[in-house]
């Protein structure tokens, strides 16, 4: 795959450096059977450095996941080599089954069927059930 020219696919751009890998994981791109390029620490006039993900396939991507990991990222859809759509990214109010609660005392740690829900609060994402903060939130 030529990483510079995708004919049909998705480019996630302006990702804060270091967050590209996490996005690939949470979007399950490492498990899908398709060409994906992660370009790390690309020089950027606007950001100094940035990560870029190029997906050489027209697949649906979960914008909530992108909004959770990095609301500053941009998503471009490419068709026949032309940019056809720019998606607006916002921080989702709720995140369902994307990350798991790490609190061993949380009900989600013992009951497998419960949806893992994180809710956006004033100070970041917290588990709906036990109010423990989401791991990625911790600075």
């Amino acid at each position: 795959m030529n990483i510079d020219s995708i004919r049909n696919g998705i480019v996630i751009d302006h990702i804060s450096p270091g967050k590209g890998m996490r996005l690939v994981q949470l979007l399950n791109l490492d498990r899908e059977d398709m060409s994906v390029a992660i370009i790390k620490n690309v020089h950027s006039r606007k950001m100094g450095k940035k990560d870029i993900i190029k997906i050489d396939a027209e697949i649906p991507v979960d914008l909530d996941v992108i909004g959770f990991v990095d609301p500053e990222a941009t998503v471009n859809r490419i068709q026949d080599g032309v940019l056809t759509e720019k998606k607006k990214i916002v921080q989702p109010k709720q995140l369902v089954n994307v990350i798991r609660c790490r609190n061993p005392r949380c009900i989600t740690s013992v009951e497998q069927e419960i949806r893992h829900v994180f809710v956006l609060r004033d100070d970041g994402y917290r588990c709906l059930y036990c109010e423990t903060r989401a791991e990625e939130d911790r600075k």
Binding site: N103, R105, C106, I107, V110, E111, E113, I114, Y129, E131
Partner: protein, 307 residues
Amino acid sequence: MRSVIDIMDLSTAEIQDLIVTAEDIIENPDQYAHACERKKLATLFFEPSTRTRMSFEAAMYELGGHVISMSEANSSSAAKGESVADTAKTVSNYVDIIAMRHPKEGAALVASMNASVPVINAGDGGHCHPTQTMADLLTIWREKKQFDHLTIGFCGDLKFGRTVHSLAGAMARYEGTKLVLISPEELRLPDYVKKNILAPAGVPFTETTDLEGSMNDLDILYMTRVQRERFFNEEDYLRLKDRYILTEEKLKSAPERMIVMHPLPRVNEISVAVDEDPRACYFKQVLYGKYMRMALILKLLKEAGRL
């Protein structure tokens, strides 16, 4: 379906209404003796807590209702591997309201999301125990006749003590609340409680290790027990558990107005001799807890259209 999982699920206006009902029950118990006739409460206790379960059961009986229980711990449906969600769905078919206790945080919320009757959280791990806080609030109301402009001293385990976090949150909603946080360094109130509960409400607080030196400022002294199960090693527990012991002697220098509260059971934080002091309110808390549970059962059954 309205459930009560966290004390913050209830507005201050609703708490005031519950207090009005509870005081009316205290004055006119006969008028409530048949209020919940033919209604059933299920007590689902996935971990033993005899006193809380008995309080709910006494509350329902005094309202003329019935109680069915899942036996505690081993014989519970949890032992057979049934999920909280399925248990809540199943039991909803038998009863009008559920009181649930579970060792895991958030379990009562999961139950309420799946039940078709109201769920009252009777404790979910170290997380929430709203009816304990309701008992505390009725005690404060009965003793002080107000919620505004009170200075509350919390003493003991402020780090893990959920009753402390919950009552602090409930009191932060009233005007002029001040807190004095008395604890060993290791058991101080967590930063997230200060940041998320006290700071937004603008509640002033001081932190100290000195119990006797703090008592003069207090309207309420809320003692807590240091829980053994919170410690990794026995040494730390033994060192900290006897740090604050309220004795008759210490209470001598405390102001007349300072009531003493404790969520019980106590270990040795309060000497038995203190029980005779008119300022000791912890057994009243137990009684008031039953009345507030009665008031809450009535409120939730009415809201659910079952009364």
